[in-house]
């Protein structure tokens, strides 16, 4: 890792323990119990102050459910989310509301997440006004400061969202998250709706803000290159479980789970001679059934009888590198999926 390790106090900023979330589907029959979706199945993770966690996986892997639970937007079916040692789900509502100044969220769609009828000043100041009364002059000063921090001008305060481009809107959404001076920002696909050149600007901004304020990010993305760029640790999720977790360098150079390899392999490479690489057809897993065995087994080229019978537990396969695969050692011994040149 090129970044020097920051001196981190012993308490993690965020500790998620054995988090599970089940949603009940509409009843299909009067006589059968309603089916359930296991959106999250026992996820445990920690984020140290100033460090960032990336969460990757396909849609339906539970990434966004994870984000919603960390933000205390929903109550988990079981498990704990604690921020700075305090369990968010055991707090009285009033206290939770005040605690929210420490964790804020940036959403994927910069068009849908800003109210078109409110001025930028009101949108950006909203988290502050929700925390308590504040006089107008101080409020406008705070808004102006935070707008400058994300590279917008004071004069933008009285404009409306439609006057801004996608990249600028995402800057506004980041300013809104920053205004309470949070310690943790949960960003759900913050750049996937943006064009390549704008995406680069927003990613650079997120890095600058982290350097300046010592923020932590939980960055949810389907783009492995984006999490690689911003995060100290990456968790790969599949059907509501973390299947591999570790530092980006370890994870990408010596993937220990076949799913991580499949994800890496699927990224199209921008280079000459990019002959179409055929990937075999893959069955898509279902969350509704909680079958025995490894949930990835139906898609896995290495699956054997043992995999289909016993679910693998998340175990250490290296220094700060965890994987849930019976064949992790065999997978790590495979040659790395070719990294991109250039």
């Amino acid at each position: 890792m090129t970044m020097p390790d920051q001196p981190s106090p012993a308490t993690p900023l965020l500790a998620v323990t054995d988090l599970a979330q089940r949603y009940t589907l509409p009843r299909e029959s009067l006589f059968k119990p309603a089916a359930q979706v296991h959106a999250l199945n026992g996820v445990t993770a920690q984020v140290m102050p100033g460090r960032s966690l990336g969460v990757v996986g396909e849609s339906g892997s539970g990434k966004s459910t994870f984000a919603r639970l960390v933000m205390a937007l929903e109550r988990p079916s079981s498990g704990q989310v604690s921020l700075l040692g305090r369990d968010l789900n055991r707090m009285p509502p009033d206290e939770l509301r005040r605690a929210r100044r420490d964790f804020q969220m940036v959403f994927q769609d910069p068009y849908g997440s800003l109210d078109p009828r409110q001025t930028i000043a009101r949108i950006v100041a909203e988290p502050l006004t929700a925390l308590g009364r504040m006089d107008r002059v101080t409020l406008r000063e705070r808004v102006a400061t935070v707008l400058r921090q994300v590279g917008l001008r004071d004069a933008d305060m009285d404009k409306f969202p439609h006057e801004f481009s996608g990249g600028q809107r995402q800057r506004i959404a980041i300013a809104r998250a920053l205004i309470t001076q949070p310690k943790l920002i949960v960003a759900d696909e913050p750049v996937s709706a943006l064009d390549v050149s704008v995406q680069a600007q927003v990613l650079n901004l997120m890095q600058d803000l982290q350097d300046e304020f010592g923020l932590s990010y939980i960055l949810i993305s389907h783009d492995l290159a984006v999490v690689d760029l911003l995060c100290d640790e990456i968790a790969v999720m599949y059907l509501g479980r973390i299947v591999e977790q570790g530092r980006p360098a370890d994870l990408f150079a010596h993937s220990a789970h076949p799913y991580t390899r499949a994800l890496l392999d699927a990224v199209p490479r921008a280079r000459a001679g990019g002959v179409r690489r055929r990937r075999g057809a893959q069955a898509i897993g279902s969350q509704a059934s909680a079958a025995a065995g490894c949930p990835y087994a139906p898609r896995c080229p290495l699956a054997d009888q043992h995999c289909r019978e016993t679910a693998p537990a998340l175990r250490n396969v290296g220094d700060a590198h965890l994987a849930a695969c019976h064949h992790a050692e065999a997978v790590m011994a495979l040659p790395p999926v070719v990294a991109e040149a250039g």
């Binding site: 064009d195 390549v196 050149s197 995406q199 600007q201 921008a270 000459a272 179409r276 990937r279």
Partner: protein, 332 residues
Amino acid sequence: MSDAPLIEVKDLGVRLNTSHGPAQAVRGVSFALRRGETLGLVGESGCGKSVTALALMGLLPDSAVISGSIRLDGAELVGLPDTAYCRLRGNRISMIFQEPMTALNPMHTIGHQVAEPLLRHTGVSAAEARHEAIALLDRVGLPDAAKRVDAYPHQFSGGQRQRITIAMALACQPDVLIADEPTTALDVTIQGQILDLIASLVEERGMSMILISHDLGVIAENVERMMVMYGGTVVESGETNAVFTRMGHPYTQGLFRARPRLGARKGTRLKTIAGTVPELADLPAGCTFADRCTIAEARCRAALPAVVDVGAAHGVRCIRTDVSMDAGGVGA
């Protein structure tokens, strides 16, 4: 494969009436595709990729002014009356749209939607069309096609919905397939499957394909030739391999450098392109990229640069290729 081009576009221009006044959305786009060939269009939003595609499909609003020529098998399409266009659309030219959610009608079964172009263009009976629709859905890899043909779009996942729109586009065995960001809304693993499917269908049926994407990786792996668009003009075009080996236009280079890539460790700065995409209603007089270009000079702003051939049909619309392609250049 015959030598005559199947579709030939010459000096295509599109002027749209926007709320900011008339906007020249596309200028001087020319290309020719023979049967079985594939062409990629890359660029950011607002660069004219989709307007070009809609012009080929005859789907631009009536207020749009189209100049130049689009010929399909020698027959002129520009200025064709709508009734005649209706006979081509979905029959000889068809399109796969970006958002499978919005491209499908939520009120009709998928079988009905896949059979619709068959009923409209081929004169088969309803029973035959239904039978054919099941075969098509099966071919695009929809599990249990025969059972699910009467299901509605909301009962399918995003990847499955995109397979259904592909089946619709292919129903009448079109000659030209336009895929406008077919995988942008999908996961990387599903993206791979859908692109594989499109590639094998293009090969199998000898179609010509125009693939539109903002992702240089998708373009590099899926098409033989590519065009990079910016501000409504083609700024670079050529064989995909040639372009990726030696990128000529500062915009192509900028796009390539701005991508986050795997293996770039934490703390790496991305190289951004300064400024923003120009408003199409208010394009600069000279090179459209001049305001964001690091090597622009006074003469860049004077007039739209002509296309410079930098070897092997690789064209770059830049007068400073001597500088931009110097010093090793950019490529992978």
